[in-house]
Amino acid sequence: MPFRLAQTAAAPVVPWQPLWRPGTTGWDEVGSPEPRAPWRQLDGAQELGDLASLEHCHDEARRLIRDLGVSYTVYGKGEDQRPWAFDPLPLMLDAEEWADLEAGLVQRARLMEAILGDLYGDQRLLRERVVPPGLLFANPWFQRTATGIHPPGGRWLHLYAVDLVRGPDGQWLALADRTQAPSGMGYALANRFVSVRAAPQTVAQVRPAAILGWFERLGRLAADLTQVDEPTVAVLSPGPYNETYFEHAFLARQLGFVLARGQDLLVRDETLFLDTLGGLRRIHVLLRRVDDDFCDPLELRGDSQLGVAGLAQAARAGRVVLANPIGSGVVEALALHPYLPRLARMLLGEDLSLPTVDTVWGPDALCARLTDAPESVLFKPAFANPGIGAMLPERLSDEARERLAEELRLKPHSLVAQSRVPHSVVPVLTPSGIEARPIQLRCFLLRDGEGWWTMPGGLVRFGVRGDDLPISMQAGGGAKDAWLVGSGAPPAVARPPAPVVIRRSTEDLPSRVADNLFWTGRYVERADNALRIARAALARLSEADRQRERAPLLTALARSGMPLSSATPLASLAQVMTTRHPGTFGASLSALGRVTFDLSDRLSPDLGRLLSTLGQDADEPVRGTAALGDRIDRWLESMAAIQGLMGENLVRGIGWRFLEVGRRLERAMVASDSVATLVAPGQPLDAGLTATLEVCDSQLTYRWRYPAGLTLPAVIDLVVLDDSNPRSILYQLEAIERQLAALPGAERDGRPSPARRLLASRTAALMALAVETSTQQTAVETLSAVWRDLSQISDRLTERYFRPGAGAAA
């Protein structure tokens, strides 16, 4: 139909197309002037059409990402989690072309698995000199531990990912293989969540192949790998400091897996268990996101805090399935690439269908590239993580190049030279309009009883610059969804959603989480108390007529961490706020930051935000008493908001109970310590009593009840014994008992647990106290006994609930 063709040529198919300038020697994914077939599907697309709608879609995606909490941790800056940089315009892929690529990917997965089987098995490849021995023995990812482990059914890979680039001729090339703990699939799923919601009408029109079916298959993988009806799968995560922690938590949540760290798991009887408050729960399949050498501190790296001691032995005994098995990282080595075509013929009897980026390994070949064509290659570590440590020899000085040659003479196996391939480019919306950015495509495969399955699409990552340097989320850049369209594409509509199962109890609470919640409660109260004492001290510093009242508070401050210098009290008080000395506000706050960061997937984002902003201005210099007072008031307000959120926004599960016990315990402990200091014999009594009421936030009630004035028995009754005063010590003890009684293990052999018995005896002693005859001396004795008992109760709770294996031992 020539007439229609002419018409489409006149008006752009995609409204933003006239703005598209690929400007590169690399392959143009869109195609110009006429867009390629898959991009023509965007004809008439509502949300991805003109620039204005793209911008709107971009904003919408940003909002969705914030709501989903998609983030990416950047190393080297502590806990800098940045929001996922996502561009909603997807990479459009043609289904027919995809079928070829998919065949190549599946073949590559089979090849990698065959190589692993040989290298950890009878090593025919070495004996027949198909590959040089250095490929294995210089390879730090060759795990000698694994030579005795035979994965059930010879399945060396359950999950597999390949990074692809498209060369200037449009041919896809494999750049790197991810075999030990492939990452990115969770981000691919999050990308799809966002792109579908940001551009719903376009999705309805274009109908990209659904990827959810692939994830459902992943969810069923465990049943396929074990002969258990309802196997338990855990995701082993290195924790929130890991760059891709978001996706560990996200995948676990989406697929109903347990999210665990090394310290949540233990091996007993060559069997892997989750260590929960309710006891040990068997884990059948471990989806690990911890690298090979960190998996087991007994047999692999002894300094690893991320693994589980005895895990290798459990795998050897065939009592846990690791996805993927320890040792599978050995084939990630770039040094393997030159041999792949030969290995495919030898091990599979097939020609390699998906080519690899041209790579050479070995000192002679490397030196030749270094001198002949330094501009055409990238030097990369032959065995390290494929994403890091690339070097551009053309940018090296002569001297540096000479050093490199010398290094190669000593360690001839350490580097490969990979040919530079101009990456294909896609349009990315930037503040300055539509720009061309280089991309890599990460494809994901999984293997179940029926065979290998490729996720239709994948994770597209784009670089910050227009060159072919390795693309890394660490260095900036961003991600896109990939939409597979056209005839022959897998079905767009996911199967009907699984029936909803109502769940209430969220617990199998790992001991570590209970421990952290307990300490969150304790540090919040400790920080709050330090602030109250500081505020009271400040008031007495600034008002000349209250000088006499200072002494008890200065003693209390000294006890809670740091003595004030009498020469420059204000400056040293400001310092008390920021110092890291134990017991001070600064120290409590930083400890609080540590334990809550560890809980980041369990606390509400509002709480997280409050915690992260609190005390941010602590290091700024203060000018004058009033400014310091304002600052302390502001912090106390934030503390109140944090306490409120903890009280109102957490489900009353076991976890909340531990938080509550921690808060009440600490409040009672710091109160007994502070009051004992303030009213101690030798302190001016009136000043001590005033300060006590202020620190315990009970002045108003006191004035109502006792307008006549301050007496020691009345003050002690109000702040220690009055169980209707929510700041009194007895009130805390009763609150602790309510929570302990509701925890598992509240009773032992029909009697209350040791912690509860101790608590009951101290409560009874307080109730029986003849407060009318209190003296400064007896008050201090009473309060010290409270403090001592509570400290013992804390130890008993630690023993019973927080120690590894404690749940199992009980």
Binding site: Q123, P133, F137, R144, R268, G310, Q313, R316
Partner: protein
């Protein structure tokens, strides 16, 4: 000659250990000139799981897990081993070291012992130190003997100078260490020249025969080096005592370095601080 070995390790913990995992390389392996007549390992408290195995290098391993709460762990390994007297390896004629270095890398069975390993990084300083012993055309074992003599002369045996964690460059700098350090140093020297060499863990007889001096490293685990010489196979050399072991060295296990054959390691849950006490006795019966 028959040696009876008793190797006792006692861990004392500051607080109760609830669960522990251990891996031992404490059963002597089959080795050239060595025959294991009998061996056993006794562990207190009794392990819940006890799994013997063979590692990548063919050494005997024992994995065990204890879940009885304890504050003290005693592992006692005993063995009776017959050593066949052999002539000192250093007396055999051997090929030019350069020929060995040229061909070893391509041999699957040797290449592993040429590569850097956790305790044996390949650095220039080791190669520079080794060079004078391996002049052009020198027979391999002459070079090895010379290197062993120089290490023995240049370095002082000093149990207080180093720990397992002391890196090789510190040993090179301070010229002090124990048998492990000297073995790692010699491995680094040989491998940096392309010569295959392996780490051997074992024991020395405790009481010297009449008229012979007591050797350094007795009363404890000992370590030395195996070098590969074409035609002869693997030959042992002990740089700490500057000799080619014959019938006074009992082999436990070998690997790339200490990390492959650590006699006993473990990961414990709980335990607090810990102290360890090791005692080795080797009794020799010359009539055996």
């Amino acid at each position: 000659m028959i040696h009876s070995i008793r190797h006792r390790t006692i861990y004392s913990y500051g607080s109760t250990v609830l669960l522990s995992h251990h891996l031992a390389h404490l059963t002597p392996r089959l080795a050239p000139g060595q025959q294991v007549l009998q061996s056993r390992i006794d562990i207190t408290p009794r392990p819940r799981r006890l799994v013997p195995g063979t590692d990548h290098f063919g050494n005997h391993t024992l994995y065990f897990q204890i879940d009885e709460p304890h504050t003290r762990l005693v592992v006692e390994a005993q063995a009776r081993v017959r050593l066949e007297p052999e002539d000192g390896g250093g007396l055999f004629p051997s090929p030019d070291w350069w020929l060995v270095a040229e061909t070893a890398a391509a041999e699957p069975d040797l290449a592993e012992m040429l590569m850097p390993s956790p305790h044996v990084p390949l650095e220039r300083v080791a190669r520079d130190y080794a060079r004078p012993s391996f002049t052009p055309g020198k027979p391999l074992l002459d070079g090895v003997r010379d290197l062993s003599r120089r290490i023995h002369t240049d370095f002082t045996f000093d149990p207080t100078a180093t720990s397992i964690a002391t890196p090789l460059d510190q040993v090179m700098k301070h010229r002090r260490g124990v048998c492990q350090d000297f073995a790692h140093l010699m491995l680094a020297c040989l491998r940096s020249l392309g010569l295959p060499a392996r780490y051997v863990s074992g024991y020395l007889e405790t009481l010297p025969p009449p008229g012979k001096p007591k050797l350094q490293g007795a009363d404890a685990s000992h370590a030395w080096v195996g070098v590969y010489s074409p035609g002869l196979g693997w030959l042992d050399v002990d740089p700490t005592n500057d000799l080619f072991p014959a019938e006074r060295h009992v082999t436990l296990a070998w690997g790339r370095d200490f990390s492959d054959v650590s006699p006993l390691k473990g990961v414990i849950h709980g335990g607090g601080s810990q102290t360890v006490e090791v005692g080795v006795d080797v009794a020799t019966n010359n009539d055996g």
